[in-house]
């Protein structure tokens, strides 16, 4: 499973990001991550346009797993409850990114 996560926007307009290849992390963490993804209902969430909320952080989340691939663009305060644990985990793993 490959995960690309980016947090953009917010008042400061800065970027935080992380890319995770589950094959390259220890088994317990991989299992916990896969459980977070499956438990979030991510694959069934609509990829529609998020609400426009000034200075709210925006999340871009793309997951590729085998044949499946799905991406979401979310407004931070509107993240569904079932997705929050996964977003929280990915945000904690993220690091500030210097814009090119």
């Amino acid at each position: 499973m490959k995960i690309t996560f980016k947090q953009t926007g917010g008042f400061a307009g800065v970027v935080k990001s992380v890319q995770i290849d589950s094959e390259s992390i220890p088994t317990p963490e991989r299992q916990a991550l896969e459980s977070l993804v499956e438990g979030s209902g991510f694959w069934d969430l609509s990829a529609g346009e998020p609400r426009q909320m000034p200075d709210a952080e925006g999340y871009f989340l793309c997951v590729e797993s085998g044949e499946r691939s799905h991406a979401l663009h979310l407004c931070g305060p509107d993240v569904p409850d079932q997705l929050r644990p996964l977003i929280r985990y990915l945000a904690q793993q993220s690091r500030f990114e210097k814009r090119a």
């Binding site: 917010g10 909320m53 931070g76």
Partner: protein, 373 residues
């Protein structure tokens, strides 16, 4: 501008989130100018009727607000105004206690003294300074120009590196303490967020691509003006920085209207300020990335305002700020782009100050300075 009355009639229709969405369906509005005309020139009976309309409108609005308020609100402080030309600033600052439930617990009401919690007191005072600019300089009665109670929540989340406007209130985090301080530390951040509320009730600029960058820019412009007015500065004395305190490190700020791209340079975590000063540096970004770069490309209209304000000199909120305010309220729509904003500000300058005036020339010169015109 005074509040509208609660009688059958029609309301000026602006964009979603503006007047059209904020009228109760059975409370159509007699336009304020009609009420004012009646109060100014009507018979005694007509004056009393118009004033009563305003009093009932104010009372209904404040009763609705009370119904949503914490029980310990001082009802005495919510007394409605009966003078059509007065306004009353009402601020409520809440504490989310590091959770994400809004608004949280009421920490400071309008008539409460300082609490000793810097975030609460900064939010309260900053909202006051912002309300004061809009009322004292532009006769705007709060965010909606109808006396909307200013609600703010501090201590949102844990180490939350952000502040935002959610359509109804402002929300501030405490920052992580390593890269960012608390987001109430700069009065311009508070004024920036409140101005998103003003924009929502006026042009309601769509928050993406160029209209979103304009939305951001109006917030930065009036943020800077609130700060300058609080400090008693003229344009040439101002630092024109946004977020000089929140980004930890004396040499860093988040944005500069004077010199976009220089607010922070070689920051160990963030790199260098990516804002362009002119269209030569305009960034085409996808929607998922900062809604198409609204915090990046705002540097261009920000710099246009700086150029106009510096050309005019003096206190920037008086002329340049007035022109920008009128453009936001009367000229722009939700899908405005930089070119239309430029044309609108030139039109307003001409209308307010005259064709060929110093003011029109200053604005006309500012936009080519950022290569929009």
């Amino acid at each position: 501008m005074s509040s509208g009355g609660v009688v059958a009639g029609t309301a000026r229709v602006r964009g979603a989130g503006s007047w059209a969405d904020h009228r109760h369906p059975v409370q159509c509005i007699v336009p304020p100018y009609m009420l004012e005309a009646i109060i100014a020139s009507g018979s005694e009976a007509q004056r009393r009727a118009a004033l009563e309309v305003l009093r009932r409108s104010d009372l209904l609005r404040q009763q609705r607000a009370l119904a949503q308020a914490q029980p310990r609100l001082d009802l005495e402080s919510m007394a409605p105004s009966v003078d059509a030309h007065s306004s009353r600033r009402v601020r409520r600052t809440y504490d989310a206690r590091h959770g994400d439930s809004l608004p949280g617990v009421l920490a400071r009401g309008e008539s409460d003294g300082p609490t000793g919690d810097p975030a609460v007191d900064e939010a309260h005072d900053g909202a006051g300074a912002t309300w004061d600019l809009y009322w004292q300089e532009y006769k705007r009665n709060s965010l909606d120009d109808r006396g909307k109670i200013i609600d703010q929540t501090v201590h949102y989340g844990e180490r939350f590196d952000n502040a935002f406007w959610n359509g109804e209130q402002m929300v501030y985090g405490d920052g992580d303490g390593e890269i960012f301080a608390r987001f109430t530390i700069d009065v311009d951040i508070i004024a920036h967020e409140l101005t998103h509320g003003v924009t929502q009730y006026e042009a309601n600029l769509r928050y993406w691509y160029q209209s979103g960058a304009l939305n951001e820019s109006f917030s930065d412009v009036f943020a800077s003006l609130v700060k300058q007015r609080l400090l008693g500065q003229e344009a040439a004395q101002a630092d024109w920085l946004i977020g000089a305190g929140v980004l930890l490190g004396d040499q860093y700020a988040l944005r500069s209207l004077k010199a976009p791209g220089t607010a922070y340079v070689h920051h160990p975590a963030l790199g260098t300020d990516p804002q362009p000063a002119t269209m030569d540096g305009y960034r085409e970004l996808p929607a998922w990335d900062d809604n198409g770069g609204v915090h990046i490309n705002s540097g261009i209209p920000n710099h246009a305002f700086y150029l106009a304000a510096m050309e005019l000199g003096g206190q920037a909120w008086r002329k340049a700020g007035l022109i920008w305010y009128r453009a936001l309220c009367n000229e722009l729509d939700a899908n405005a782009n930089f070119l239309r904003a430029a044309q609108a500000t030139v039109r307003v300058a001409r209308a307010e100050f005259g064709a060929g005036s110093v003011e029109e020339r200053a604005v006309t010169k500012a936009w080519p300075g950022v290569k929009v015109l």
